[in-house]
Amino acid sequence: MNSVFAIAGLVVKELQRRKDFYVLFVLTALLTVLLGSVSFFNAENIARYLKDICLLLIWVSSLVIAVTTTARQLPAERENRTIFPLLAKPVTRGQVIAGKFLGCWLACGIALLVFYLFFTVISASREHVWHLVPTLKAVWMHWMLLGVLVAMVLFGSVVFTAPSSNTTICFIVIVGILGIGRHLHRVALDQPEPVSTMLSVIYFLIPHVEWFYLPDFLVNDQNIAPWTDCLMASLYGVAYMAAFLIAAWMRFRRQMLSV
């Protein structure tokens, strides 16, 4: 366990010392403020519009942070050859995978807290009310979603050795799931066999990350998803994380590491 936490700590420290996160945060903040200061609508609509923009930017930034941070972990260890002194210690490859996952997921969590804090400040400045519980639920679900993505990207990085191809493929897969994946079962109904069955199988296999996307509730002031739904979705997410991590471990376990 020591090793897992030590490796995770290293990932968090790296994010903290690199500039990407700060750049994304400042960009998100600037864009939100900038777009918010242009008032085309009446006072009520602008609050919604502002929140919408801010959440969209948070969504995109968190995705970028999760994917880019995770995708470079193992390839950088191999390229700089630090994987060798690391694995020469009494560390198993499973611990390396677990540590990297935990580190990236925690780093995403910290980034999310910062982003949503900013969101809360922005929306409170307009509405003078605090939606504490819905926001916390949204952060939690968002974090679960990023966990699934981090595990998926980590798996990708032991399969595709070139970090850039991994990043590209992961972005395509994520956009694919969000854009097409959730409609696949309906598309499947209109297709002839065997395409129909294939599409249905794909629909049931892909992680449905869209289920974790709660910002709509934050913007529309609706009563947010019930606790039980959040719990079920979390379990669903954890199952996917476990599946991806086990796959990554199986693949990494017997891999030859020489240059």
Partner: protein, 250 residues
């Protein structure tokens, strides 16, 4: 007494990729390193030295034969509890300082805070990085990076050190310091296995040597015995073994 390192008929074949044919990097290699000795693992570039060490550390799987550390199969992580390893050319985490890197590795060994403080201070002094300890690694020279590598290899006070070309790329002063360090560690009773193709330094610090070429063991023995047997210095033996013919008399 049990051998610290034991290789029996080790064979490593790299699978070919695409048009590249498969490559036999180590062929039927048997070796033993005894406790407390400095063992020089010699051979020209591409002889299979790094590959053999990679098998010992579990990075590469042997195609055949057996490799043991302290009597434990190298695939078992326990085998790595008592060893320190200095890899060839490593670019340590650039965003950390030397002190932070050592602290990271100390955590992996589960050292307590006070143990690791003591250990890190002593190691930084040993490799002469105390002054630079709080600077990020990216500002270090090559020699300094190599010394970070030596310090991390010693963090767990290992009984066996595996050093892959510890002096390559260093200037003469740096080389001498590494030699002195090896001597000092030997005096502390550590077993050291190091690879090299610099023969002068090997002769002065090694008890025994093995010379490999094209993955095969050519010569093995005590330095003094070999010199007596072949009636020439190590360099001549080496050149002879790897098939280098001096200019023929015409």
């Amino acid at each position: 007494m049990e051998n610290v390192v034991q290789l029996k008929n080790l064979r490593v074949e790299y699978r070919g990729r695409g048009s590249q044919p498969a490559k036999l990097a180590v062929n039927n290699l048997s070796l033993a390193v005894h406790a407390g000795e400095v063992f020089g693992f010699l051979g020209p570039n591409g002889a299979g030295k790094t590959t053999t060490m990679n098998v010992l550390l579990g990075f590469v799987n042997a195609t055949g034969g057996e490799a043991r550390l302290f009597g434990v199969n190298v695939r078992d992580p326990i085998a790595r509890q008592r060893i320190g390893y200095l890899p060839e050319l490593t670019y340590y985490y650039k965003f950390l300082t030397a002190e932070e890197i050592l602290r990271f590795y100390a955590k992996i060994f589960g050292l307590t805070q006070s143990e690791s403080n003591k250990r890190i201070e002593a190691l930084l002094k040993l490799v002469e990085l105390t002054e630079a300890a709080k600077r990020p690694i990216k500002s270090y020279s090559k020699g300094m990076q190599q010394r970070v590598g030596l310090a991390q290899a010693l963090i767990n006070n290992p009984d066996l050190l595996i050093l892959d070309e510890p002096t390559s790329g260093l200037d003469p002063l740096g080389r001498m310091k590494v030699r002195q360090l090896i001597q000092r560690l030997k005096n502390e009773g550590k077993t050291i296995l190091f690879s090299s193709h610099e023969l002068g330094e090997v002769e002065t610090v090694c008890d025994r040597v093995a010379i490999v070429d094209k993955g095969e063991l050519k010569v093995e023995g005590r330095v003094t015995d070999l010199v007596a047997q072949y009636q020439c210095d190590l360099e001549k033996i080496f050149l002879n073994v790897v098939g280098y013919q001096p200019e023929s008399r015409s």
